[in-house]
């Protein structure tokens, strides 16, 4: 696929007056537009946004909430930081549009504690919006009122998970909830709540601004629209890129100037490690999904070391509530340590892979369900290197 001409985010002129437009539609019409665009959540899970908003709109309650998940913690993801600092209008007005669509009165931005330096900018922007009557009572002269409060996180990756985030907002430990019931029915303080990623709100803004049809022109059959990808690691031009869904990994590597690549981690620590033999695959929900993180490893990198880094991450960031994730991740990390010492038998490695598969289906939330991904994909795709790592070379092909 060629490099695109119409971009969504990086072209300010394309941003339009979505808020004015949305307020002239009915909430139901707004939701339908989102649904027609087939926009899917941009945080990684990819739940159809239109469906989520429809369920929230039809829920009956005297209070409803919109939550912007700005707890961008997936290793290798930094696109939300860029959106919040440089495309603030898209995100914040996207939230107001979402609020209007589901008829919520209040919104929260759950900003991760590590982004506290963005707080001042965001607070000032919200003040400006209130002065311009784009937030607060009777927005733009309509009888719709909506306001936004910013809440800071305090250094917990698991709070990026939607129910753990809601628990954190309520003053609890960030431990995932039982679902069903889902947040759209029973969310913040028991009220219907939608939790969406920063980029999702920005995309929703664009959908209203330029229309669902325009948005759905890009992407693949099941993954519509453009995606922001944050690229880091061994490449000449790391940074945030806007690409259509369906872009081949090979094409992305060329775009960012990656040389001598050995593997590409797509989806962050919870994602898959793609070896060079699979770079014809594409980035989409149907093939290799990602919330935005792409990390590139060149031939000098030791894959076992990479795996250890990821598993240490999960052991520390797991909330600790459910058995498969709390103990399972530790067992996988111990497996990595055994591989490093060369004492992990082939049989035990297979046991760990089976454990990983159990964790993927038995864990309570997305963290435990995806933490085995790097383990299984690295161990499977780089088997020889992993098994002979202790011999010291570490740079097996």
């Amino acid at each position: 696929m060629p490099i695109i001409n119409d971009t969504i985010f990086f072209d300010e002129k394309a941003h339009g007056e979505a808020l004015e437009k949305a307020l002239k539609m009915s909430p139901h019409e707004v939701v339908l537009e989102i649904r027609e665009s087939q926009l899917r959540g941009r945080g990684g899970a990819g739940f159809p946004t239109g469906t989520k908003w429809m369920l929230a709109l039809s829920a009956q309650a005297d209070k409803k909430f919109v939550v912007c998940n700005a707890d961008e913690g997936e290793p290798g993801t930094f696109k939300d930081r860029v959106l919040l600092s440089e495309y603030t209008k898209l995100v914040l007005e996207g939230m107001v549009i979402a609020g209007y669509a589901i008829q919520a009165q209040k919104g929260f931005i759950y900003l991760r504690g590590e982004y506290a330096y963005l707080l001042e900018h965001l607070l000032n922007y919200l003040d400006r919006m209130r002065k311009e009557n784009r937030l607060g009572e009777n927005i733009l002269g309509t009888n719709y009122s909506f306001d936004i409060e910013i809440r800071l996180g305090s250094g917990a990756y698991v709070c990026g998970e939607e129910t753990a985030l809601i628990e954190s907002l309520e003053g609890h430990r960030g431990e995932a909830r039982n679902r069903p019931p889902y947040p759209v029915n029973t969310g913040y303080l028991g009220y219907p709540t939608i939790v969406n990623n920063v980029e999702t709100f920005a995309c929703a803004y664009i959908v209203i601004s330029k229309g669902a049809q325009w948005f759905a022109k890009y992407g693949t059959e099941k993954s519509k629209g453009m995606k922001l990808i944050s690229v880091s690691g061994d490449c000449k031009k790391p940074g945030v890129y806007e690409v259509p869904f369906g872009i081949k990994i090979k094409e992305l590597l060329e775009l960012v100037g990656a040389e001598d690549t050995k593997a590409v981690q797509i989806g962050g620590a919870s994602g898959l490690c793609i070896p060079m033999s699979e770079i014809e695959r594409n980035i989409s929900f149907e093939d290799v999904p990602t919330g935005g993180s792409v990390i590139i490893f060149n031939k000098s990198r030791n894959m076992l070391q990479v795996l250890r880094n990821f598993m240490e991450f999960f052991v520390e960031e797991s909330c600790g509530q459910c058995t498969p994730c709390r103990v399972g991740n530790k067992k996988l990390l111990e497996g990595v340590e055994m591989l490093e010492k060369g004492i992990c038998t082939h049989h035990y490695l297979n046991e760990l892979i089976e454990l990983g598969k159990t964790m993927q289906i038995a864990s309570k939330c997305g963290l435990g369900q995806s933490s085995p991904n790097p383990f299984i994909s690295i161990v499977t795709n780089f088997k020889d290197e992993i098994m002979s790592n202790y011999l010291g070379s570490g740079n097996g092909q």
Binding site: P75, G76, E114, Y115, L169, G171, I295, F310
Partner: protein, 157 residues
């Protein structure tokens, strides 16, 4: 920094409850403010907050120990958090880490005796294209090298 006097804490908690409300939802904002002001959340502060929000002190303790940025132990005036996730590691975090340990005479996880510096690891702070990166309190520093780090530390000493 002196250990906060109980009266000071009571007044502070009072003011925070007035500002944020007395429901459990206010717990995290209150704890964050106490952490920012005093560098830690003392056991007296936790009990006071618990009583004002009508929850048990042990629940407050459970919340404080859950989040990495909240602490029951006094932290230094400057809390240095170096990212140790893979992108920063690939970019050379190890050299920066050794430099920090050497220049501050601290191991990761420790606070200096004069309570000036705390040195900690943290996980991905979203600066992966500009690594190695670290946070000092709420300020972020990117594209670190050993010499750059020495400059930064010197400016704080």
């Amino acid at each position: 920094m002196i250990y906060p006097d109980k009266n000071v804490l009571v007044n502070e908690v009072d003011a925070l409850v007035k500002k944020y409300g007395s429901g459990r939802e206010s717990l995290l904002p209150i704890l964050q403010d106490v952490q920012r002001k005093f560098g830690f959340i003392s056991d007296f502060a936790m009990q006071e907050i618990a009583h004002r929000l009508d929850i048990h002190p042990v629940e407050v303790y459970g919340v404080v120990t859950f989040y990495s940025f909240l602490s029951t132990e006094p932290k230094g005036k400057y809390v240095i958090r170096l990212c140790k996730t893979i992108s920063c590691e690939l970019a050379g975090k190890e050299a920066v880490a050794k430099t920090l340990e050497r220049e501050l005479n601290l191991k990761f996880g420790e606070t200096s005796k004069d309570r000036k510096f705390t040195l900690e690891y943290c996980h991905c702070i979203g600066m992966c294209d500009q690594g190695p990166a670290m946070l000092i309190n709420e300020q972020v520093f990117t594209k670190l090298t050993p010499s750059k780090v020495i400059e930064i530390i010197d400016s704080l000493k």
